[in-house]
């Protein structure tokens, strides 16, 4: 079951041969070619940044440890050697500072890709993100646009405690003027990051630390340097007819595993990978619920005012008469993230929670 694959050379010249474990490919996404090519999310992000920097001299990377250290999570590995210190800039420790500088540089026509070591630290810079980046185009009546990307790991990792585990999807996605993306697979990571860098609006790009090392099959099309995914379009990862499970980022993987378990019990679940939190693809979500009549939404973040709350509201407003069961919302526990491994596991949604909620929606359990 576990094979060792030789890594292929990626368009853009990233050359590092590594051992990879095949991912037991339950994800039979239709866009994947039959080939055996795989890529980690880390390499997907790295290749996306590399290609966009190569194509456009205005793109540059900025953040703590992105250069000499090769990136706190190695996402920017190799870029300093390739593009030099002017385009891969190691910043002093000041989120407010480098975010402000990134916004200023974007105002002046450059295209910064600003890395936060984790989005938890972005709070020290959130004024620049919201009051400067998000609102400038509107307040200046189109005179000042801000083609900036803020990226970094978001949400829970493993055993990093309260100040390193919060999910900021709901916070940023509530702000008009921002676009908020959350990739799951390597294809998502490549396509969405390239789209984000090319986009003239400010984009918050929420990655997941635990997904960086995960390998996914990737198509030839996705490996091409012109590949780009549309912003605002969700992806149906698995088709089904009994219940719609909507989620994003790491929880997509959990939802797919839950769908397997549900299939064994005769429940056909449709799994939707949001990819884009703002704009939210309400059309795809509602079309799916109108087909299945049941909704289960999943997120790792805090429950109150979360992404799932918005999805439930959207479905109740637009597809009320199609629902055969109350909407189900699964979120992280309403507590700051504890450190101890057992407590952490209890504070986050697990596959069993998704299975139980789906069965409840199908009247198969309490």
């Amino acid at each position: 079951m576990l094979g060792i694959l030789r890594q292929r050379a990626i368009d853009g010249g990233l050359a590092a041969s590594t051992l990879r474990r095949t991912r037991f490919a339950l994800v039979s996404a239709r866009s994947y070619a039959a080939g055996a090519k795989e890529m980690t999310v880390r390499d997907a992000l790295n290749s996306a940044i590399d290609e966009e920097m190569s194509a456009d001299p205005k793109v540059f990377v900025m953040g703590e440890e992105v250069g000499q250290y090769q990136g706190a999570y190695k996402i920017t590995k190799g870029l300093l050697e390739k593009y030099g210190p002017e385009r891969v800039y190691d910043t002093p420790i000041t989120e407010a500072g480098f975010t402000g500088i990134g916004v200023g540089a974007a105002y002046a026509g450059l295209k910064p890709v600003v890395e936060f070591m984790t989005f938890n630290f972005s709070m020290q810079a959130i004024d620049h993100i919201i009051n400067s980046a998000a609102k400038s185009n509107y307040m200046s009546a189109g005179q000042i646009n801000v083609p900036i990307v803020f990226r970094g790991p978001n949400g829970a990792a493993a055993g990093v405690g309260a100040q390193h585990s919060q999910c900021y999807a709901a916070w940023y996605a509530s702000v008009p003027g921002l676009k908020v993306l959350a990739p799951y697979s390597a294809e998502d990571a490549r396509g969405l990051l390239k789209a984000a860098i090319r986009d003239p609006d400010p984009v918050v790009f929420l990655e997941n630390e635990l997904l960086y090392g995960e390998s996914f099959p990737i198509s030839e099309e996705a490996l091409d340097s012109s590949f780009c995914l549309p912003i605002g379009k969700a992806k149906i990862e698995r088709e089904g007819k009994d219940v719609t499970i909507v989620t994003f980022s790491k929880m997509v993987g959990f939802a797919l595993k839950a769908a397997e378990k549900l299939a064994e019990e005769g429940i056909s679940a449709e799994v939707i990978n949001l990819r884009s939190i703002r704009p939210l693809d309400r059309a795809t979500i509602n079309a799916s619920v109108r087909k299945t009549s049941r909704l289960v939404t999943v997120e790792e973040g805090f429950p109150q005012h979360g992404v799932c709350a918005e999805i439930c509201a959207s479905v109740v407003e637009e597809s009320f008469s199609y629902l055969d069961a109350p909407v189900e919302r699964i979120a992280g526990a309403d507590v700051p993230m504890p450190y101890a491994a057992n407590l952490e596991r209890l504070a986050l949604p697990q596959i069993e929670d998704i299975v139980r909620a789906s069965k409840r929606a199908c009247y198969r359990s309490k």
Binding site: T99, G104, A108, N137
Partner: protein
């Protein structure tokens, strides 16, 4: 030979005498000035000479700024605009700085620098349109009064959060550096704004990045009701420059010639040496913080009067210009009455001009309007058509 030690950051000498650096220097950093209070050049002054043409233009603009401030302030008091913020007492800072820059230099203002925009060519009509948020406003009615901006004139739209423009200026400077442009970023901040974290981040970063930025601090003594003695305990802002490795100078901000020379020199240094420079301009905020403030509640009325009458930068520069035979009483009354007339007309016209149509509510949130906003716009249009009695007369869809 002074013994030296190796540490990260280089060699440093050592001493066995335990000596603390005092919290303040025995002598405050002196202030650079060229004109005395009577408008006469102090003998042996270093300064960059200013031609008659330039001097007259500078004076005219300083006087125009005074008239503009007075009339817009009154308009707010009459309820015709919702808010206004004057630059009274800081006319030399506004105009002389602007005169010393090149039009390619990118300005990131705080909010008390409309004179820079005026110098660059923003008309009194354009100022009025922004204050009234009418259809001709370049800001499309999105911002409250005095939040002007102009892409064309390289003056960034004013943003309310304090000091955010400082690290942004470092970013703009970095961008100019990467593009190898013969230009620098110029950014303004008040004494109060230097307490913000962004002041530290902006200056530190600009120094490390070796970005061509001129930081101008208008030390006018007051941050709304907070006097500088409650804002910091340092000798003003100029002493902070060296803490960041930034060349700095303190100048008499009410002396137009000194301001002009300083900003000209700083700009040259920033561009040719690719480094940031800090200028502290000493002045006094004669007006209230804004129309939402009554400063007589926290400071003595005679303090305000003193600065308004005896330390007035416009009168001081006028004396110099007149002494040179370049300006007369007749020129003065003509300028002031013309400016006043033009402003009153601009206000009357701006007031009557229709406001933005409803569609502007939904534009520019993003580069391309997203579907949900298109739907909301259609929905709102239909609603207005269906229930016109709920909307003001002449409401434009």
């Amino acid at each position: 030979m002074i013994p030296e030690l190796d540490f990260p950051g280089g060699k440093v000498g050592y001493t066995s005498e335990m000596k603390f650096i005092p919290e303040s220097s025995s002598r405050r950093i002196p202030c650079y000035r060229v004109l005395d209070e009577d408008g006469r050049i102090i003998p042996d002054s270093d300064f960059i000479p200013v031609s008659e043409k330039l001097a007259v233009r500078m004076y005219e603009q300083m006087a125009t700024l005074q008239v503009m401030d007075h009339i817009f302030y009154e308009a707010q008091r009459q309820g015709r605009i919702s808010f206004y913020l004057t630059s009274v007492g800081e006319e030399a800072i506004n105009i002389a700085s602007a005169a010393a820059l090149s039009p390619d230099d990118v300005v990131l203002p705080q909010y008390r620098e409309p004179g820079v925009l005026l110098w660059r060519g923003f008309t009194l009509e354009e100022f009025a349109n922004q204050c009234f948020g009418n259809k001709a406003d370049y800001g499309k009615g999105r911002q409250m009064p005095i939040h002007y901006g102009s892409n064309r004139l390289n003056y960034f739209t004013i943003s309310s959060p304090i000091a955010t423009q400082l690290p942004q200026a470092a970013g703009v400077g970095y961008s100019l550096k990467m593009d190898k442009k013969n230009a620098c970023a110029v950014t303004f901040i008040g004494d109060g704004g230097t307490s913000e974290g962004d002041f530290h981040a902006g200056l530190n970063f600009a120094a490390v990045m070796e970005a061509p930025v001129v930081f101008i601090c208008r030390n006018n003594g007051w941050a709304i009701s907070t006097h500088i003695s409650e804002q910091f305990r340092s000798d003003g802002i100029v002493v902070k420059g060296q803490a960041y490795g930034i060349r700095s100078i303190r100048v008499d901000g009410n002396d137009a010639l000194a301001v002009y020379s300083t900003v000209r020199s700083a700009r040259e240094m920033a561009v040719t040496e690719q480094r940031p420079v800090l200028i502290e301009m000493m002045t006094y905020r004669v007006g209230h913080h804004s129309t939402s403030d009554d400063s007589t509640k926290y400071r003595a009325a005679d303090e305000i009067q003193y600065w308004k009458m005896s330390r007035n930068p416009v009168n001081r520069f006028r004396k110099w210009v007149e002494d040179n035979g370049w300006w007369s009483e007749e020129d003065e009354s003509k300028l002031r009455s013309n400016a006043r007339k033009q402003l009153l007309q601009a206000i009357q016209a701006a007031e009557k001009w229709e406001k933005q149509p409803l569609t502007e509510l939904f534009n520019d949130v993003y580069d391309v309007k997203p579907k949900n906003l298109e739907e909301q716009e259609l929905g709102l249009k239909e609603l207005v058509k269906k229930q016109p009695q709920d909307y003001p007369p002449g409401f434009h869809v």
